[in-house]
């Protein structure tokens, strides 16, 4: 449903992304993983239509993306800066629905359902700054879900929460994906996370970025933080991606 073809991005003479191509099919969960500073966020912003690429194209269901499409939602890494502190949880989740033509009770239903899906119903009238980091990121996820996107982009969404919360949020996102049947493109620098979550992993090389390898993850569903990570296949994939990225880093250092 989403196709990225020969995408390139330069800032002046600095080449950030050399050439990235891959496609995502309906209801797929794709993780993009790469070393720190390899232009993952830039790539995601190009895909989201927030940045104009210098070359190549992004197509959503055959239509070229030139600005943020309505079928797409984005969860930012910096939840504290992307949530509106003057609005309650309900207000934040309602915000993107205000300009959609929806009946009032339909809108309220969507909001309450999304807040319920992330387990924050008890906190719906609190303000984001009254909540912990993990809970704030749940609010941001609820906001994205209420928007009813067909594809959900996530930019290292769990990079600034502690390990425990991170595991919980990973399971939450897998659950939510079942419930909403949404396609997900998930960017991360965490190799374990990418193997645990994805149906397919796109491994990027260091800047200027290009795709090193695309590999399928054939781990059984539903996944479990303990059982899945015990599987030999998990260890194999993890080691494989790790070596890819490490070798790239070593090559870049030379």
């Amino acid at each position: 449903m989403l196709e990225i073809g020969g995408l390139a991005k330069s800032y002046g003479t600095v080449e950030a992304i050399r050439e990235v191509s891959f496609a995502i099919s309906e209801r797929e969960f794709v993780c993009v993983v790469g070393p720190s500073g390899c232009g993952k966020t830039t790539l995601l912003k190009c895909i989201a239509g927030l940045l104009a690429p210098s070359g190549g194209h992004v197509e959503l269901r055959g239509e070229r993306v030139t600005g943020p499409p309505e079928e797409m939602a984005l969860v930012f890494q910096e939840y504290s800066r992307s949530l509106l502190p003057w609005l309650s949880v309900r207000g934040n989740v309602t915000l993107p629905l205000r300009h959609k033509k929806l009946a009032k009770d339909e809108r309220a239903r969507l909001v309450e359902e999304a807040v319920d899906a992330v387990g924050l119903t008890r906190f719906i009238d609190r303000y984001p700054w009254e909540l912990s980091g993990g809970m704030q990121q749940r609010v941001a996820i609820a906001r994205a879900l209420a928007y009813q996107p067909q594809i959900l982009l996530m930019d290292e969404p769990f990079a600034s929460v502690d390990a425990q919360t991170r595991g919980d949020l990973e399971d939450l996102i897998l659950e939510v994906r079942e419930r909403y049947g949404v396609t997900i493109l998930f960017v991360t620098h965490d190799i374990d996370e990418s193997v645990y979550l994805a149906d397919r992993i796109v491994v990027l090389g260091p800047s200027p970025t290009s795709v090193k390898e695309i590999l399928p993850v054939e781990l059984p569903h539903p996944r479990d933080q303990v059982d899945t990570k015990e599987l030999p296949e998990f260890a194999r994939l993890r080691a494989h991606v790790y070596r890819l990225i490490k070798r790239e880093r070593a090559a870049a250092a030379k």
Binding site: K45, A48, L50, G67, P68, E70, M72, A73, L74, F76, E78, S80, R81, S82, L84, P85, W86, L87, L95, P96, R98, H99, Y127, P128, W129, E130, R143, Y147
Partner: protein, 254 residues
């Protein structure tokens, strides 16, 4: 107990100063510093409430009208200037020039052009008070977190909705900072404008008292102005605390 001490200090220091002033002025043999008791007596006779209708209310009305006009114009003009770099560039020399003019110098041309009525005084107050509001509105808007702007774009929040739900609330802490500066300027300009070509108002009363050697009256007027400024600021802080409750909460949480 821990709260009681600072509050007790806040009350005790002004009271102690008044006592010192009272004791000293009671035995001072100078015409220009009459005993505090005389001033207070004069204060009661003049301001409670004989001259409230004839001087205090007209002063407050001008202050209110000039200040309100300044806030309105400052915010309305600040929005396009904050949003557009081009507009900012184009307007900046003019703004810097107008703002650099010492306000009392505007009185002679204002009298010639507009006359000596209330309109002139209101416009003088507005002209001076508009700059802090304008500049802070611009700063507040240009300082909005890029993540917040991206969020608005991704979720299709545009136009008036973006202005009302994102831009203005995000800039409001700074707008309030500007409004606070302007409030003290408004009191100053109210007094200055009433000292020139005027027939009523607190500023007029103070000047008239001095000219007719009614020294206790003069001091009572100054006392009133001090109290007025203090109370206005108190009211302002109260409003700000309510409107920006989220801001204090968010800062404490961060």
């Amino acid at each position: 107990m821990r709260r009681a001490l600072p509050i007790a200090l806040e009350i005790a220091v002004p009271v102690a100063l008044l006592v010192v002033w009272g004791v000293w002025s009671a035995q001072a043999q100078t015409f220009y510093f009459p005993p505090l008791t005389d001033i207070l007596e004069q204060f009661r006779d003049t301001w409670l409430f004989e001259r409230v209708g004839s001087d205090v209310l007209p002063s407050l009305a001008r202050l209110g009208a000039g200040y309100a006009l300044a806030v309105l114009v400052g915010v309305l003009a600040g929005i396009p200037l904050g949003l557009s770099r081009t507009a900012r560039r184009a307007a900046s020399p003019l703004v810097e020039f107008l703002r650099a003019i010492p306000p009392p110098a505007l009185l002679p041309p204002a009298i010639v052009l507009i006359g000596i009525g209330d309109t002139m005084k209101v416009l003088i107050i507005a002209f001076v008070c508009v700059w802090p509001v304008l500049l802070n509105t611009i700063d507040g808007i240009t300082g909005i977190d890029p993540t917040l702007n991206d969020t608005a774009r991704v979720y299709g929040v545009r136009g008036a909705g973006r202005l009302r739900r994102i831009v203005l609330p995000a800039a409001s802490p700074q707008i309030f900072a500007g409004m606070r500066t302007s409030l003290s300027l408004a009191v100053i300009l109210m007094v200055i404008s009433e000292m020139v070509a005027s027939t009523n108002g607190i500023g007029f009363f103070v000047l008239e008292s001095q000219r007719s050697f009614a020294i206790p009256e003069m001091w009572s007027g100054i006392l009133l102005l001090g109290i007025l400024g203090y109370v206005l600021n108190l009211v302002f802080v109260g409003v700000e605390r309510r409107v920006l409750a989220w801001h204090r909460g968010a800062r404490k949480g961060a």
